[in-house]
């Protein structure tokens, strides 16, 4: 296609005229020019902001039960079911849930769990996945075999069973208590989900390690560790970032499903606690009430969608920016 040739042609010229820049500065330049990625970053930052400053922004106490005001529709709508006594109360921007708690405030507080779920287990998953995947793919042979069988075992056994045991057995311990069971949840989620990353990393490693530049590096005596770190890793960033970006919504939704099965966070009893409710629990509560107050379901669904979109666009931009082949372009 003509455009690719032109792009390449342009890059050659620019590489000659521009002074050399580090990978990261280069990448940042490209990233900042990618509108979608910046939009994504803005979304992420917005939700982090909400998570941290929630209490100041939420109009109501997320746990306050407003007697007699259950299932109110959002302030701008007449009720989903037409009735004279219940119309949207301007106090409650997105309406109320089954016992009269403000959906909008709960949404803001719920951001905390989701943002934290997005980050912490993901770090572990990525770290372990990459480590094991690269080692397996690079060394091959017995190491590969053993590691892959290990991932098979982890992959095969039922996560739910694992969650039941972990959540119950450790729930009453100090670890279980912290953050209403959040740490426990993370640990369990991380332990179960790193396998997908490992497999993809291994696959890409297998493919990269046969390339000429790896051979070249080997031939000049580069240590295995350096090869893996400096040659292979940067080149397999692409699928890693994609898989990681997809891990985030999966984790957020996994939290919801776990709540459904009785294995999620303990509900907060006081709004002074850090983790009071989560989008996952809101989704589940909203699902049964879809005929009465659809916004109980729509609000967290849209929130999840926005966060995920943010991470996805940003991840895409990141990949595009970091791609060594794109160095010097744009």
């Amino acid at each position: 296609m003509a455009s690719a040739a032109v792009a390449d042609g342009r890059s050659v010229n620019q590489a000659i005229t521009k002074p050399p820049q580090s990978l990261w500065v280069d990448a940042w330049h490209r990233l900042s020019r990618n509108k979608a990625a910046m939009f994504g970053l803005a979304l992420i930052l917005l939700f982090f902001f909400l998570a941290i400053f929630g209490p100041m922004l939420a109009p109501h106490d997320p746990l306050k039960i407003n007697s007699g005001k259950g299932f109110l529709p959002p302030a701008w709508m007449p009720a989903a079911w037409v009735s004279t006594d219940n119309v949207g109360d301007p106090q409650f921007f997105l309406g109320t849930d089954s016992i009269g708690r403000d959906v909008f405030s709960r949404l803001i507080y719920g951001a905390r769990v989701s943002m934290v779920v997005a980050i912490i287990p993901t770090i572990f998953i990525t770290f372990f996945g990459i480590l094991i995947g690269i080692v397996a793919g690079f060394f091959g042979g017995t190491a590969d075999n053993l590691l892959m069988r290990f991932t098979d075992i982890v992959y095969s056994f039922p996560d739910i069973l694992f969650f039941v045991v972990v959540m119950f057995a450790l729930r009453d311990t100090p670890i279980g208590d912290w953050g209403n069971g959040l740490i426990l949840l993370f640990g369990a989620l991380a332990l179960v989900n790193w396998v997908g990353v490992a497999r993809v990393v291994r696959g890409s490693t297998l493919s990269i390690k046969e390339k000429e530049f790896v051979e070249a590096a080997r031939s000049i005596g580069t240590s295995d560790r350096n090869i893996m770190q400096k040659h292979i890793l940067p080149n397999i960033l692409s699928p890693i970032i994609i898989i990681t970006a997809f891990a985030v919504p999966r984790l957020i939704i996994a939290e919801a499903v776990l709540g459904y099965l009785g294995l999620g966070l303990r509900p907060g009893t006081s709004s002074k606690e850090f983790f009071v409710t989560s989008w996952g629990s809101m989704l589940l509560e909203g699902q049964t009430a879809i005929n009465a107050q659809p916004w109980m379901l729509l609000a967290p669904a849209i929130a999840v969608a926005l966060v995920v979109m943010g991470f996805t666009f940003f991840g895409d931009g990141l990949r595009d920016a970091l791609d060594p082949r794109m160095r010097g372009t744009g």
């Binding site: 739910i160 039941v164 997809f246 989704l283």
Partner: protein, 346 residues
């Protein structure tokens, strides 16, 4: 090649055993037992519980019966819950072969039925693919076809027309497949297609017509579709910039040939990686979809079994799942070699 296959098949056995051990340990660590019913129901009294335990072999030792060993009873030493299930042991006084003979055990909840009956046997007078396993298999395959058929071309087109509205549109579709949880997606689809458009019934009376399979397939497959599209796109973008593509073009090869013969094969590698386990995951059924559409598959069975502590069902389905994953991964590794001849399978 043959050696590779045989070695992988041999590896199946220890892996399955380890999975069985871990599952067994976890199962019994989870508090409560199969006769602890839903709190809204009446519970079994102590005498009946004892009788039931005896009937189902729950009064045996879990791993190894040392009491029997001390009496010099070697057979009794191994006549424990774990070995009885996996290899064989006494069931109601008689010796019966276990899992390795294909006997998946008696269900603890659905009394009288064996797990094979529940999961693999079709209802009276119907064909084998009308069993629970059969239904889930069919739905899984359909979802996979759906995901690949739409996801791959979407990703390819997206990559070839990068940063154009086409790209953004397909990215949006792909992303929405992952951002919206499948139970939300499912219920909205039901409302749109069944309630507003009356295109399909909300609750199918029978699963024999192809029409009623459409919604569950879409809901099940959409997530994978999104992943596939994105992965294909990323992969294609990667491959597109490779030198050999430039060479191919320089040689004067037509664009179509370049895309098909050179780009696609290499771009599909990461896609193929996720296909294997994804298919296994799809086939083992999705609890949420089966509940929502009242789909008679085995995904719901599996999750309910864990909740109900139906030990045989849990063990059996976990082991089958493990087997499917293994086979899926084996197939994926094989396909690798076709796609990239430089990867040697050793």
């Amino acid at each position: 090649m043959a050696r590779f296959l045989i070695r992988r098949l041999l590896w199946l056995i220890p892996v399955m055993f380890v999975v069985a051990i871990i599952t067994f340990v976890l199962m019994h660590m989870a508090p409560g037992g199969p006769f602890d019913k839903d709190p809204s129901q009446r519970q079994v009294d102590a005498v009946t519980q004892k009788a039931l335990n005896a009937q189902f072999g729950l009064d045996k030792e879990e791993w190894l019966d040392f009491a029997a060993l001390s009496k010099g009873d070697i057979v009794g030493f191994f006549d424990t819950q774990f070995f009885t299930y996996m290899i064989g042991g006494t069931v109601k006084g008689q010796w019966r072969c276990g899992f390795i003979c294909g006997n998946l055990g008696l269900s603890f909840r659905q009394r009288g039925l064996t797990v094979q009956d529940i999961v693999l046997k079709p209802p009276e007078g119907k064909a084998p693919w009308d069993s629970k396993a059969g239904y889930s298999l069919r739905l899984g395959l359909l979802a996979l076809f759906f995901a690949m058929l739409i996801g791959v071309p979407l990703g390819v087109v997206s990559a070839l027309r990068q940063n154009t509205p086409v790209d953004y549109a397909s990215l949006f579709i792909a992303t929405s497949g992952v951002t919206v949880p499948n139970f939300v997606f499912g219920i909205f689809l039901i409302i749109i297609f069944a309630v507003f458009l009356h295109a399909v019934p909300v609750v199918p009376t029978s699963w024999d017509s192809p029409l009623v399979w459409i919604l569950p397939t879409i809901v099940l497959g959409f997530g994978l579709l999104a992943q596939t599209a994105r992965l294909t796109r990323a992969s294609m973008l990667e491959v597109m910039r490779q030198d050999y593509i430039r060479t191919a073009r320089a040689k004067g090869l037509g664009e179509r040939v370049v895309v098909w013969r050179h780009m696609l094969k290499n771009a599909l590698i990461p896609v193929v990686t996720i296909m294997g386990p994804a298919l296994a995951g799809l086939i083992t059924g999705s609890f949420i979809i089966e509940t929502m559409f009242a789909f008679p598959g085995w995904g719901r069975q599996f999750v309910t079994a864990i909740q109900q502590r139906d030990y045989s069902m849990i063990l059996a389905t976990t082991l089958i799942f493990a087997l499917l994953i293994q086979i899926a991964n084996m197939t994926v590794d094989l396909i690798y070699t076709f796609l990239d001849p430089r990867i040697k399978v050793n």
